[in-house]
């Protein structure tokens, strides 16, 4: 059954969109990530214009993170103070990101920048996660190996503006979460992702936050950053397709339910290992598209202001 997407201005199969939403929802339920990093490339792959894919995806990230936060909030796994500091950075970041987005679109390099940022982040995060989870699996087999120190003091801990985060049991410079939020905010606008796949490892390894609080807290700030991105994209670029976003959410809600149930049967490091493989695979697929000679060297864009 075909449906016409009014903002993307194209017809697409409803079942295909529901299926995509379901698949990504399943994975996000399984791995506890938003799944935006998978959805945007998939949407572009099925022919949705990149600008509409990124902006509508930001809209679907709102829905995904709201439902995620609610689950974590009930278990008390959200550090609101940390979330608010991350958010302050995130709002500034997304503001700059949306501006950068329209500049890049004007000079015709937006597709390249989207692809490059995806390749860079997916392959580096995927690689790090793969190494970490393989290490964890090996340690599991040899439990006698020595443990790391809980806190290692590096230059990061010498930054000014220290702030106490009671729930996370942390005393670190506010510049750290501010900067992290800012960076993820920019990426959120450029890539249409919540940024969980960067935020979560950064909070664990850079900030040293307790793992139980990380997902809930990052989701909490993602809601607001995604709201900001979604609003700015709709307002400045008119690229948010409600119909597209709604169908994706519908599929994702159902998929996430199955993903969570399935995930309960797998062990943590196995899950992280699988996610690492998935992230790496998407990164490699996108990288090949950049280096393989295109089918046609030329592409068309309808110039702005020409109407029609």
């Amino acid at each position: 059954m075909q449906i016409y997407l009014p903002i993307a201005e194209m017809s697409i199969d409803v079942l295909l969109l529901l299926g995509l939403g379901g698949l990504v929802g399943f994975l996000s339920g399984l791995f506890g990530v938003g799944g935006g990093f998978l959805m945007t490339p998939l949407l572009i792959f099925v022919g949705v214009p990149p600008a509409v894919a990124v902006a509508s995806q930001a809209n679907q990230v709102i829905a995904a993170s709201v439902s995620g936060v609610l689950a974590h909030w009930r278990r008390g796994n959200v550090d609101f103070k940390m979330g608010l500091v991350l958010l302050a950075g995130g709002l500034i970041g997304s503001l700059i990101g949306v501006w950068l987005y329209s500049v890049l679109r004007r000079i015709g390099q937006i597709d390249l920048v989207i692809a490059l940022t995806y390749v860079f982040f997916l392959s580096s995060v995927g690689g790090l996660m793969a190494v970490e989870s393989i290490g964890a699996m090996l340690r599991q087999r040899r439990p006698q190996t020595s443990r790391h120190k809980l806190h290692q003091h590096i230059w990061i801990h010498g930054l000014p503006l220290k702030m106490r985060f009671r729930r996370s049991r942390l005393y670190v410079s506010a510049l750290l979460p501010l900067g992290l939020g800012f960076g993820v905010g920019v990426l959120s606008a450029l890539m249409g992702v919540g940024g969980g796949f960067i935020m979560v490892p950064a909070m664990i390894y850079l900030l040293g936050m307790p793992t139980t609080l990380v997902v809930g807290t990052s989701l909490f700030q993602v809601i607001f950053v995604a709201i900001n991105v979604s609003f700015l994209q709709a307002w400045q670029n008119q690229t948010v397709d409600i119909v597209l976003a709604f169908l994706l959410v519908l599929g994702a809600v159902i998929g996430a339910e199955f993903g969570t149930r399935f995930g309960a049967k797998l062990r943590g490091e196995q899950l992280r290992g699988l996610l690492a493989l998935l992230v790496l695979a998407v990164g490699i697929a996108l990288a090949t598209q950049l280096v393989v000679p295109p089918e046609d060297f030329y592409s068309l864009t309808i110039s702005p202001g020409s109407g029609g």
Binding site: P6, A63, L70, A234, V240, S303
Partner: protein, 249 residues
Amino acid sequence: MRASLLVLAVLAWVASVAGGRIAVAASLVADLSDHLIAITTGFTGTDVLLFGAKEGPGEVVMIVRGPIGAISVRKKSRIAGIWMNTDRVTFSNVPSFYTVASSALLADIAPPSVLARHQIGFDQLKLQAPPNVEPDRLRDFRAALIRRQQRAGLFMREVGEVSFLGNTLFRSTVHFPANVPVGVYLVEVLLLQDRNVTGAQTTPLIISKVGFGAELFDFAHQRAALYGLIAILIALVSGWLPHILLRKA
């Protein structure tokens, strides 16, 4: 031949009622099966029938043009192993849709000067580029524009057919794909006799979004901020609602 009788009846009606639309010469009458194509939520493309009658011998050519606009053609080349857009030429008066159909081989029925005057065929299509573009580069970008538009189904791949029913009646169809741009299209029908245009008629065809999709599109562009807020509200509710439902279940 009930169909052709019907066509005749319709033509007679068109000739009597819509007199204003029938221009220049009375030797040619033509009309479309639809003057408005509505792009609804379920739109997957459509065919429009052109039918008409001519007086005496001659060949018929139909040209369909979409709204004129500017299109930028970008060229990728490899820099440091990565393919990126490096060159661009903007053509300022490109029809967003272009097809030609003819009852005979174009070269046989009209000299190049006539084809040029009516912009019949890709060789004659006037696409305006900035004056500083070198001829070779212009040729490549122009060919690329036509090729990409053909692949998108918006430019014809080859000249279509206008078929005759007897000596006076003719018909042809135009296919509009799902990605067809909205706006006012012009359908030009020419009658050629002795390698000259002796009759011409231009009929407008409007393609526009209607219903829910159209309202949403207009809303998103005219009240962008409000649209953004509503989009957020829908996302918030659709993230929160299943949570409530699942908790109860």
